[in-house]
Amino acid sequence: MLEVTRYRPMMIILSILAIACLLITTPAISESEKNTYKIGGIFAVTGPASFLGDPEKKSMEMVVDQINASGGIDGHMLEAVIYDTEGDPGKANLLATKLINKDNVIAIIGPSTTPTTLAVMPIIQRIKIPFISCAAGNKIVAPINPWVFKTAQSDILAVAAIYENLKSKKIKKISIISVNNAFGESGKEQLLSQAKNFGLTVAKSETYGAKDTDMTAQLTKIRKDNPEAIVCWGTNPGPAVLAKNMQQLDLNIPLFQSHGVASPKFIELAGSAAEGIMLPTGKILVASLLSDSDPQKEMLTAYISEYKNKYKSSVSGFGGYAYDAANILAAALKNSEGDKEKIREALENTEGYVGVSGIFNFSKTDHNGLSPEAFVMVKIKDGKWELLK
């Protein structure tokens, strides 16, 4: 009994406080005419995939600020709730649940990598909430899940861009060397399965470890078949080691790399061995080289200068995935009044949206919405990119 009486004053104070809180907050809600739209973001802002997640977070915040500055969507302000997955699928799953249950967001953008996206997808399917992933893996949109979209270019398109180029050079026999992780495996799968459509035969398909210091053994093996071209699928630094080894072995075979090394860093790492290497890349890398008639040129220039002004750091194509996702979502939010099914329908009917990564045409059967034109082929010449026609 004594215990109870001692706590009674405390209870009274707490009750008063609680009521006071209600009184203070209630008018605040009714004051603004329309409630804000909360949209969630989950990116690998730190950790090994932070080169993806950090620019993605910044780009998404940039879009939200721009939209709010111009008066919001149908009078609704936007609020971005962004969490850091650290590239961990388990965390991504928890954070998605948190966004849905605690923050009550009406749509989610992200995560940055394929494994984290795949970890989040079961929740999306269950809760039914519009979701735009920024990861590259094709598994995300095949088979199609009505609520899941993605803005990053799939490797299917990158392979198609390389093979188109090989076909125009009348090359028939190639060899493949890919890194033995998810990125390389997925690339290898596409390279092998699409080869037939372009009349190519794959003489050898070799792999290397992401941290390998020397690949002359694999190259020696490849050399035996005299392929007309070598396609390497990996992210830095492996492909740069391969390029150096090819130079050292005097292997004068045209080398194609994946879009995974499409950054100035690759040229820096490979040095003189980078000369003559050809690769597919999103247009952002070569924005200044594009002809003025290119439909993406204007939007790319705008994005690059905005990003540079706001964050004082150089721009990469990765932030563009979130930039496109946020802009497409904002367009879909118009006239939706926050109804999730309406947003989803509007997303699926997005047509001709000119973005950083390409021109998006979503449909019932295509939730990535990009065509091989999203990629351009470039060649490295004198340490600089050169557009290939």
Binding site: P48, S50, F51, I177, N180, E206, T207, Y208, G209, K211, D212, T213, D214, T216, A217, Q218, T220, K221, K224, N236, P237, A240, V241, K244, Q248, L249, D250, K265, E268, L269, A270, G271
Partner: protein
């Protein structure tokens, strides 16, 4: 024939790197019975210091090398003084876990100082590759083998000919007996740490031009070096040499004749087999157990 020779060259280059890393493991194990799982991180430090001194500051080759190796050895001494010697109850398992912690710490430091990107530096000399019966031997491979030989012979002379080296060996054989004849065991352990991490630095220096240096390169190299040391017989200098070269050459031939996907598996399967047949490693009889 040309292919076989090329695989052999590739194997010898990688083998020399594994051997130097393995020597670092072996040396420390010999003096302290401690396996330093942060050893690969010292290789990383060496490689990245070389990037700074040789790549960015453009120091001449030899001063850059000496400066790098000194830096890494000093880092090793600080590690011993702060993290190892201050342990109240130095049981092996505690110390090993400390080294695992240190490896994570060093990787973090490397990431803060040099960033997450990979770096590359030019080869030590720009000679074209040697052509031997159609197979190419890279000039950097020759550098690696020469530096490796200098290090191995230098160590052997140090242990057999100098008083300090003999004192270290005595301390390794029996701490108590060495203490009785007046050898300061703490100093000897510290020197072993310094030398072992300096070897890590040497490994880092020689691989910097052939591979790309990044903060997370140490783990795999450390693991391969550890395997080489186990393969040859932990605690033996010659064992480390044999183990390193065997591992490197087998990997290269594994790629050539089996499959590049099974590169690591081929080598590790052999490791399992040898450890099954000779649990102490290839060179493991009592009298070759010490340096």
């Amino acid at each position: 024939m040309q292919e076989i020779l090329q695989y052999l060259f590739s194997g010898i280059t990688n083998g020399a790197i594994y051997a130097i890393i393995a020597i670092g493991f072996s040396m420390l194990y010999n003096s302290t019975e401690l396996i330093n799982f942060a050893h690969g991180e010292f290789v990383m430090l060496g490689s990245l210091c070389m990037v700074t001194f040789f790549g960015s500051m453009h120091l001449p080759l030899i001063p850059a090398m000496i400066l790098t190796i000194t830096c890494v050895a000093v880092a090793g001494l600080i590690f011993e003084r702060l993290a190892i010697r201050s342990v109240k109850h130095p049981e092996p398992i505690v110390l090993i876990i400390i080294t695992v912690g240190a490896s994570i710490f060093l990787r973090g430091i490397g990431m803060i100082i040099w960033g997450k990107d990979a770096h590359s530096i030019p080869a030590f000399s720009s000679h074209p590759p040697l052509d031997i019966a159609g197979a190419k031997l890279l000039s950097q491979s020759i550098w690696i083998i020469v530096i490796f030989l200098v290090a191995a012979v230098g160590l052997q002379l140090f242990y057999k000919k100098t008083l300090t080296g003999k004192a270290m060996e005595a301390n390794a054989i029996s701490k108590r007996a060495a203490w009785i004849v007046g050898i300061p065991s703490k100093l000897m352990v510290m020197m072993a740490f310094g030398l072992s991490t300096a070897m890590g630095g040497v490994a880092g220096v020689i691989i910097a031009p052939i591979t790309m240096s990044s903060y997370d390169m140490g783990t795999m190299l450390g693991l391969k070096g550890f395997c080489a040391a186990m393969l040859g017989g932990l605690g033996s200098l010659w064992g480390a040499l044999v183990g390193g070269f065997l591992l490197g050459i087998l990997e290269a031939f594994g790629v050539g004749f089996v499959s590049s996907g099974l590169k690591d598996a081929t080598a590790f399967l052999l490791l399992l087999f040898i450890l099954y047949v000779r649990p102490g490693g290839i060179i493991s009889s009592a009298d070759t157990n010490r340096f």
